[in-house]
């Protein structure tokens, strides 16, 4: 394993920011795995740290394929992580909305450029992603439908579901989108949590990435048997939104099958405790996202269901 500083940025008042990459094997740039780009993506960093451990063992056993390089970047934005902010500490910009970056541009554009210049030539790109709302996801893999990528590749992760997302204008500055534009086959892996560590979900994510790397002959390893991944267009999943606001309680666990009409959660009045609404499923299917916060506004996505 080689530990490399991929990009450095000097701060007026703090120690220099060094983006660290852990490199395994050498030769063809095969897979880059990127963890936390936001300061609250602790689970995403944790999954990458676990990947570093697994790849170290494989390397020691000679099970990284000759001529293949795998790079893991656990944490891009630890400046924000260390002060409890999600976005860039100085100006609140999101590094994951700055790709492909610009070396003469603003600070987060320079960080994005510094990172992207090191990872854009890999054949496969895997980002540990988080959702903008507090919540838990069934581990799954997602890719953007840019026309550059074959969705069937998602099956090689062996997760239960693979989702295809049609990009919106604001997606065009994300790492995943730009990776694809630069002809890297790019995937987002969701490992349930964000600010908390979920070790079981982290295991699932690590095994899925190892399974993918094994399938593509970058490593030689054995992992628990995966799923026969169901590939679904995200537009065909059902989002269940809150019609009211108040205190939210989920009555269902992610991964459970539900029928149309089942009560998934309840909202109660935060002041007098009266039941305001029952949140019912409008379809039958598997719950793959659950909102996770005691307070909820109206029109908030509280469950996502794969029909």
């Amino acid at each position: 394993m080689k530990k490399k500083v991929l990009f450095s940025l000097r701060s007026p008042y703090r120690e220099q920011l060094d983006i660290i990459g852990f490199c395994f094997g050498s030769g063809r740039k095969t897979a880059a795995i990127v963890g936390a780009m936001r300061g609250n993506e602790v689970q995403q960093m944790f999954v990458c740290s676990r990947m570093v451990q697994e790849l170290k063992k494989l390397e020691a056993q000679g099970k990284i394929t000759d001529g293949c390089e795998i790079m893991v970047i656990p944490c891009v934005n630890y400046y924000s992580m260390n002060i409890g902010k999600r976005f860039w500490a100085m100006d609140n910009t999101d590094i994951n909305r700055m790709f492909p970056g610009y070396d003469l541009g603003e600070t987060t554009q320079r960080i994005a450029d510094g990172l992207f210049s090191q990872i854009k030539d890999f054949e496969y790109g895997i980002q540990l992603a988080s959702f903008y709302q507090p919540g838990n996801f069934l581990p799954h893999v997602k890719m953007m439908d840019t026309g550059f990528n074959d969705p069937k590749l998602m099956k090689d992760f062996g997760l239960e579901f693979g989702l295809i997302r049609k990009p919106r204008p604001y997606d065009t500055t994300t790492l995943n989108y730009n990776w694809q534009v630069w002809e890297t086959k790019a995937f987002s892996v969701y490992a349930n949590a964000t600010e908390d560590i979920d070790e079981d979900a982290a295991d699932d994510a690590v095994y899925s990435i190892l399974r993918f790397l094994d399938k593509h002959k970058a490593v030689n390893t054995t992992t628990p048997l995966g799923y026969n991944t169901k590939i679904i267009n995200e537009a065909n999943t059902m989002q269940i939104r809150s019609e009211h606001a108040g205190i939210f309680k989920s009555l269902i666990e992610i991964g459970k099958r539900v029928d149309k009409g089942d009560v998934l959660g309840v909202i109660t009045d935060p002041l007098d405790g009266e039941l305001i609404s029952e949140i019912k499923s409008t379809v039958s299917g598997t719950v793959y996202f659950e909102y996770h916060d005691p307070l909820i506004n109206s029109n908030t996505v509280c469950f996502k269901i794969i029909k």
């Binding site: 100085m90 003469l104 541009g105 554009q109 919106r168 204008p169 606001a245 109206s298 029109n299």
Partner: protein, 314 residues
Amino acid sequence: MNITVASAALAVNEKLNIKKRRIKNGKSKTRLSLVTGTHGDELEGQYLAYMVGSYIDEHIDLLDGIVDIYPALNPMGIDSITRGIPMFDLDMNRIFPGSKNGTMAEVICSAIADDLAGSDICIDVHSSNIFLREIPQIRMSVPTAETLLSYAEMMNVDLVWIHESATVLESTLAHTLNTRGTKTLVVEMGVGMRITKQYCDQLFDGVFNLMKELGMWKGETAFVRTPIISQGREVGFVNSDAAGIFVPCAAFGDTVKKGDHIGDVVDPLTSAVVEKVEAVCDGMLFTLREYPVVYGGSLLARILQPGVSGGGEK
């Protein structure tokens, strides 16, 4: 007449309400919408909204048409000094046109866009953020310039910046409205978290001049300046390479020559000048950094010179 354009229930005993004020007089149905407060740290438009509304109130007989004033598209942001919508990741001006079946922010944006659509003209007032000061200017993309430029020239701004279009900007309010046929001008002026009365006065004259040109205002209006048009000119960007404290020595609006000393980045610990900042081209300093702390990459200034234009909408 105050009207609630969009409303959503918040978790505890409160609603998020987006309001507008409609001022109407005469027979004409010509409608001008003045909209601001998309970014919670941009306050210049707050005073302009007050000025326009109060002046019309005092001279209501001179109005022939409808003026809709939307002072705060992001009221929770303004109330909490938060640029975006509090507890929401995306910039509000990156999720238009929104969706009737989307998240709370998307539903709100959809209702706002629907309400504004159909205005004869819309003025979307932004300040800069807290980091930069901007001269009063109107920004538009190349494809919209043919339609919008003549209106922008009526607005008493110093600059009209015509920039290349970018996919990410397709989710702005202005793009949404212009696509729907509602002519929308994006004004940028001043600095975040402050009100620059001089610029509000300048835009005030521009708004009434525009209303007069549209046949909505029968009163006298002030003489308006002719803006510099960026088309055919180049914009030079001056970014810091060092980290430290930026202290300008050139003034906002100055005309500079390439290589002129415009400021220093200094290190308060070592008392060293870590970067001598120079103009990257000849031209006018139309953007100057206001917030002193800088990292490598922090934008320090923009300079308008002859050449090819670039840039972007807020």
